[in-house]
């Protein structure tokens, strides 16, 4: 009788010991970041030997240098619209320079390097015109990449 009681209690204990719970996994996929080009970077008009400077704020300056001049003609900064997950910060990786056609010197670029979606970012640049550069229009292209940090 005692043995029987032990077996019964043992079986009951085993069944009563099972417990269960639920695990959970979450993930959040955010909107992909996008960049759309707007205005081109325009250095305006200059003469051989001059340095043309376009600032990110869209203005021009001689930057205190006798070789730098206030840009003439139509000039302006480049602009890009960045979209994606609202309020998400992003970083900007622009090319360092851009070559304009047959011009001897590449123009250095100065761009916004971070922002918060949605936001427009801007690039200015500095272009030293070589005395031997050929007169006429010159153009080139450069890349700007954006990414979430």
């Amino acid at each position: 009788m005692a043995v029987a009681a032990f077996l019964i209690s043992g079986m009951s204990a085993s069944n009563a010991m099972a417990v269960s719970s639920t695990g959970q996994a979450n993930a959040n996929v955010i909107l992909p970041i996008t960049i759309t080009p707007g205005d081109d970077l325009r250095f305006g008009t200059g003469q051989p030997g001059e340095t043309l400077i376009i600032l990110k704020d869209g203005t021009t300056t001689n930057n205190g240098s006798a070789l730098a001049v206030s840009v003439q003609g139509v000039f302006g900064r480049a602009s890009f619209s960045v979209g994606g997950e609202t309020s998400q910060t992003f970083t900007v990786t622009p090319d360092a320079t851009v070559t304009l056609g047959t011009l001897t010197n590449a123009a250095s670029l100065a761009c916004d390097l971070s922002g918060t979606v949605p936001q427009d970012i801007y690039c200015g640049g500095t272009l030293l015109l070589d005395p031997l550069d050929t007169p006429g229009p010159h153009s080139g292209s450069f890349n700007v990449s954006v990414d979430y940090p």
């Binding site: 032990f6 417990v19 695990g23 959970q24 979450n26 993930a27 959040n28 996929v29 955010i30």
Partner: protein
């Protein structure tokens, strides 16, 4: 004839006395055994509490033609591993159960028939699912790692308790599709424990 009969009756009596004499000590020791039996069968009931969920964080999915992406969360707490085509924002975190039971006992854990957890789109525009395999880790007996993938029909066998408590952690590898629809994804899976 009668005499023989009496003798037999006397023998029976003696035998009966012997049985009684033999039974008395057994009866006394049986009481002692009963006490020992009671203490050995009273086992601390298993208890499991879900403390925190497994988070794969916020991320930008691979765009089309970038291939499938992955985020792997280490249940041992070593952080996460993210494929280059996924941009992880913020942090990830392993899931955690607090388990209590009888010190020194082993317990068995299974996830039913599940070998993975399916995360279903539950917020924002779009539809879709993602799947994550499950990897468990117990600190019940130090750093005892579980198999990296569930086998045996989704069942794995866990380690024991240390001082009656165990921390059962879970992580896994999430597979993310190209152009995975933005939004919040969530999924659940069962966990069963037994001695």
């Amino acid at each position: 004839m009668t005499k023989v009969t009496k003798t037999f009756a006397c023998l029976l009596f003696l035998v009966a006395l012997s049985v009684i004499n033999l039974q008395r000590p057994v009866a006394v020791s049986a009481q002692v055994s009963d006490s020992a039996l009671a203490s050995s069968t009273i086992v601390t009931p298993l208890d499991i509490v879900h403390v925190q969920l497994l988070s794969f964080g916020s991320f930008a999915a691979p765009t089309v033609s970038m291939g499938m992406g992955t985020i792997e969360v280490d249940p041992a707490g070593a952080g996460s591993t993210v494929s280059p085509n996924v941009t992880l924002i913020g942090t990830t975190g392993f899931g955690l159960f607090s388990v209590e039971g009888e010190p020194g006992y082993l317990y068995k854990m299974d996830t039913g028939s599940a070998t993975s957890v399916t995360l279903t789109h539950s917020g924002g525009a779009g539809v879709g699912t993602m799947t994550a395999n499950l990897v468990f880790f117990s600190i019940g007996k130090g750093a005892v790692a579980f198999p990296t993938a569930l086998g045996n029909g989704g069942k794995i066998f866990a380690t024991g308790f240390f001082a009656g408590k165990d921390e059962l952690r879970y992580g896994g590898e999430l597979t993310i599709g190209e152009g995975q629809a933005p939004g919040f994804y969530t999924g659940t899976f069962p966990v069963n424990l037994n001695y």
